[in-house]
């Protein structure tokens, strides 16, 4: 009785791997229907007039990139198509090089002009304190872009010196939304679109309801929905079938474990 309901760990690992690999090789093609959160973010950007400015903050480590990078790429393709001016920065050192490649895959690929349509500000230390300092002056915090050119010489900074001069913030975070809300939305009412790793989705619903955040996109499901909306299915959409089956297996494992638990408790009560 014990090991039937309490299988060796490796059994569950093989089961999980199997259920993920099969749909990756031949997808089941279950339809992806965008949820309200994703539509909120997408529609907000659709209604921005061309030439509006957007600042992107990458606040997640390389370990979370599988979950959050698909959303960054989907959103940046959308912003490039809408002709938004993009300021991009990251507060995680190891993501500086990755940020450059994300910009190449989206803004450069849409042959936008560096220094005019987008700028790569690279890494900044100080997390929330630095975002607070950017409220005074972005140029003073960074002084130069990733390539070392003085920011004042870049055309994109013609009428932008501090954070409030930028129209919208897109914060992609695995550590917390509050630092961005505190230093940008609370201080000068800057609209913020968030993409968070899945664990933080439910905890940030109150900030959308209170209007402190435009929307909170949740993990890879949000990315798959956004890819569907911009009509460019990518890695997140391809992963959705594997996600569905993996979730089913984990639910069945929980139920199976609990059946064993209750039978054991029932048997013990009758001894």
């Amino acid at each position: 009785m014990k090991n039937l309901f309490n299988p060796d760990k490796r059994v569950t690992y093989f089961l999980l791997l199997l259920v993920m690999i099969i749909p990756l090789i031949n997808p089941l093609g279950i339809a992806i229907k965008p949820s309200t959160n994703t539509l909120l973010a997408y529609d907000y950007v659709e209604n921005l007039k061309p030439g509006s400015s957007m600042i992107l903050f990458i606040d997640y480590g390389m370990g979370q990139s599988a979950e959050l990078t698909p959303q960054v790429l989907a959103s940046l393709k959308h912003y490039a198509a809408k002709g938004l001016k993009l300021f991009a920065a990251t507060q995680v050192p190891e993501m500086a090089t990755a940020l450059t490649s994300y910009l190449d895959q989206t803004y450069k690929a849409a042959n936008k002009e560096y220094g005019v349509d987008y700028v790569d500000l690279g890494y900044f230390a100080g997390a929330e304190s630095a975002v607070g300092a950017m409220g005074d002056s972005i140029i003073d915090v960074f002084k130069a872009d990733v390539y070392g050119t003085d920011l004042t010489k870049l055309p994109i900074f013609k009428d932008v010196t501090k954070l409030p001069d930028i129209d919208v913030m897109f914060a992609v975070t695995a550590s917390g939304t509050i630092p961005f809300i505190r230093q940008a939305n609370t201080k000068f009412g800057m609209p913020i679109i968030f993409s968070v790793n899945a664990v933080m989705g439910p905890a940030n619903v109150p900030y959308v309801q209170s209007g402190q955040a435009v929307s909170v996109l949740v993990g890879s499901t949000g990315a798959a929905e956004y890819e569907t909306l911009i009509g460019q299915p990518g890695t997140a959409s391809a992963a959705m079938d594997a996600q569905s089956l993996a979730h089913l297996v984990i639910i069945l494992l929980i139920v199976w474990g609990n059946i064993g638990y209750f039978m054991e408790k029932h048997a013990a009560k009758h001894e």
Binding site: Y13, I21, E67, G132, I178, R182, A198, Q212, T235, A239
Partner: protein, 204 residues
């Protein structure tokens, strides 16, 4: 199926499989040494990126005559003094500025961003089932977090012990929601790795 020719893809496939071997073989040497290599590279990248920032944000401005930057640079260098025995108390000054600066910036907006704004968002007209449920649930959760005798004795006197239990139950729904969504996050990272192995490496 044609396996990729790119050596970097081969290296990352080797790293991926070595670390995955940990799951089936707890102290696999592959896992131990590949992980050490990865930790070394991660620390190295931090120093490289940090150094390029020091060049852009400290050295170039100093050479252009912006000497006001000497104050934070001096405070920053004091952090290194921590390793000289007997002098480590000097490092407390930059730490004081960092800790107090962060606390001050956080304090400045926390009350408005979290306390006041979320109370304002909680002021719902009690004319629908959802709004009434949210109103009672919010009061119960806040009452659950009464901890000291000064408030909990009053609650007992007013026979409101059930409010604390209701608060705990409503909290369980929130933790259940986070739990369920966490599973999605963890799975998507493993699926991302399998996608890399199947498509980029094996070319399926």
């Amino acid at each position: 199926m044609q396996i990729s020719q790119d050596p970097i893809v081969w290296l990352s496939a080797f790293v991926t499989l070595s670390i995955l071997s940990f799951v089936f073989w707890n102290d696999s040497p592959f896992y131990n040494y590949v992980q050490s290599a990865y930790l070394g590279v991660a620390a190295g990248v931090t120093v490289v990126v940090g150094w390029s920032n020091i060049k852009n944000q400290v050295i170039t401005p100093l050479m252009n005559g912006n000497y006001s930057i000497l104050i934070p640079v001096f405070l920053g260098l004091l952090l290194l003094v921590r390793y000289i025995p007997g002098l480590n108390w000097v490092a407390r000054y930059p730490v004081a500025v960092l800790v107090a600066g962060g606390a001050g910036l956080g304090l400045a907006n926390t009350v408005q961003a979290q306390f006041v704004s979320q109370i304002k968002a909680g002021l719902l007209p009690l004319n629908s089932f959802d709004n009434i449920l949210m109103f009672v649930g919010l009061l119960a959760v806040i009452a659950f977090f009464f901890l000291t005798g000064r408030t909990t004795h009053v609650m007992e006197k007013l026979k409101l012990g059930w409010v604390t239990r209701l608060g705990r139950i409503v909290l369980m729904v929130a933790f259940g929601a986070s739990f369920g969504t966490t599973v999605m996050g963890r799975c998507s990272i493993l699926i991302g790795r399998l996608q890399f192995l199947l498509t980029d490496f094996l070319g399926l």
